[in-house]
Amino acid sequence: MAASTSASAAHRGLPRRMAVNAVMTVVLGLVTVGVVALLLWILAYVARQGLKYLGPMFLTQTPPGDPSQAGGGFANGIVGSVVIVGIATALSVPIGIAAAVHMVEYRGRLARACGFLTDVLIGLPSIVTGAFVYALWVAHFGFSGLAGAVALGLIMLPLIIRATAEVLRLVPVELREASLALGVSRARTIMAIVLPTARSGITTGVMLAVARAMGETAPLLLTALGNDLFLEANPARRMSTLSLQIFSNAITGFATAQARAWAGTLTLIVIVLVLSVGARLVGRRGIVRSAR
């Protein structure tokens, strides 16, 4: 009796559940379309504005001395971004991966402290990182691309640690044990089995950090300072980056400078896109992908 009652109750609820299901499917679909549309709108707008000015000249010339003048390009910013973010990546990737390996593979008190500090560092506003490097370095040795790279490296570090640790945790324990059981040492197991298996996910995490660093402006104002006048490839001196030039040109109020800023924005997006796709192709052989 009780069973038949609950069965009919379940049956009675069925049309309502199907209706809820249909409504929710439509709602989720609309939200997805909305998010994608917003993203495409931003991209299309930047592309439309940027393409008005983007050309070979933009990629090979420096800006005119007088920002109200038309012409010139962001060659110095492109070179600066590549050099500074390149150094920042070279600094933060080995340290970040090593820290993540320690956190996941060796555990212990130090590892827990490292995990906590990573979470704190991720929440740190980037201008604070810039001020920190300014106080410790720039105040003594002056503005330089290298100081900017250190600031960006500090911003990238916790992102890389977090992403790498997440992916390492996804590598099955069974793989580690299978390797240990073959008489392979723990260090070799990590280097030859765990990290290669996680390679694709780690690459994705590093690319997210690189993309973030490419767009950072505030910490660079306090460290690399910027250099709108000529192309500087020596990181020991003050340097421009794409983000700094977009900022300095966009705030001028001259239509000519703002056109350059739009073209610079488009260039920045394209560089990040090319790097992401390239890294994905390179990292494809790994198996475990980032959860994000």
């Binding site: 555990r107 099955p172 069974e174 793989l175 044990e177 299978a178 390797s179 240990l180 059981a181 073959l182 008489g183 392979v184 040492s185 723990r186 070799r188 197991t189 030859a192 089995i193 290669p196 298996t197 390679r199 052989r285 790994g286 198996i287």
Partner: protein, 269 residues
């Protein structure tokens, strides 16, 4: 399946478990085990879930201690040398005592060939001039897999079927030329045909190696094991203990303990 005669370089070792208790975070999972494992024989560990038979097996190559919070007291003698002695080298022990796991675990980034050679290459036990291809072929032949994969050596290890992956893992373990092979429910995730193939394989490799197999499947123990050890625990959460050990036929036909008979006849477990 091709028959491989015993090679003189692989000398089967004996294992003596002496008064062994293995713990996780201080709680014993298996306690007070004394067990002699004879060379060139298959010894099966049977018992209900949670009786510590896998833990006991993992104590025999020291893998138990790689788990956080794990500890062990007592001795495991590998040819009379305690593997838990202070001067014992776990890497060396695992080189001598190989292991095959419940789930096939081919290394996902490696080809079939590289999987077989993984233990030797990662352990830096192969010189530059070593005959890699011959070693791989020999191990795959021993595992009864050579004819199925000889044209797919460069394919990813994970592209094989489940049964083939498990035999690949056996080939990988054998390539290191261990003296003992531990198998932790090696057929638990395989279909009946693959299971029979692996059982044939176990009967062949015992001519060269000492084999210890954990199994849930009593028919499997009866089919492949020379000696069977039965473990159980008095209640859930209590440590598992060794109840009875003897020739497989005797254990299954006339067990001396009532709990063994109850388990074998399906009354418990």
């Amino acid at each position: 399946m091709s028959h491989v005669p015993p090679t003189p370089d692989a000398a089967a070792a004996r294992i003596d478990v002496v008064n062994l208790t293995a713990r996780y975070h201080g709680r014993p999972a298996v306690a007070d085990v004394d067990l002699a494992i004879e060379p060139r024989q298959v010894t099966a560990l049977i018992g209900p879930s949670g009786c510590g038979k896998s833990t006991l097996l993992r104590c025999m190559n020291g893998l138990h201690l790689t788990v956080p919070g794990a500890s062990v007291t007592g001795q495991v003698l590998l040819d009379d040398a305690d593997i838990y002695a202070k001067d014992s080298n776990p890497v060396e022990i695992r080189h001598r005592v190989g292991m095959v796991f419940q789930r096939p675990t081919p290394f996902p980034t490696m080809s079939v060939r590289d999987n077989v050679l993984a233990g030797l290459q990662l352990g830096r036990r192969l010189g530059r001039g070593a005959p890699h291809d011959e070693i791989a072929e020999r191990a795959l032949t021993k595992a009864g897999l050579w004819h199925e994969v000889k044209d797919r050596l460069k394919a990813p290890g994970a592209s094989l079927s489940g049964g083939q992956q498990q035999r690949l893992c056996i080939a990988r373990a054998l390539a290191v030329e261990p003296e003992v092979l531990l198998m932790d429910e090696p057929c638990a995730h395989l279909d009946p045909i693959s299971t029979l193939t692996i059982e044939d394989l176990i009967r062949e490799i015992k001519e060269t190696y000492t084999v210890v197999i954990v199994t849930h499947n009593m028919q499997q123990a009866a089919r492949v094991a020379d000696t069977t050890a039965f473990l159980t625990m008095s209640a859930v959460g209590d440590p598992g203990r060794l109840v009875e050990v003897g020739p497989t036929e005797r254990i299954f036909s006339s067990p001396r303990r009532q709990t063994t008979e109850d388990y074998i006849s399906g009354k418990i477990g």
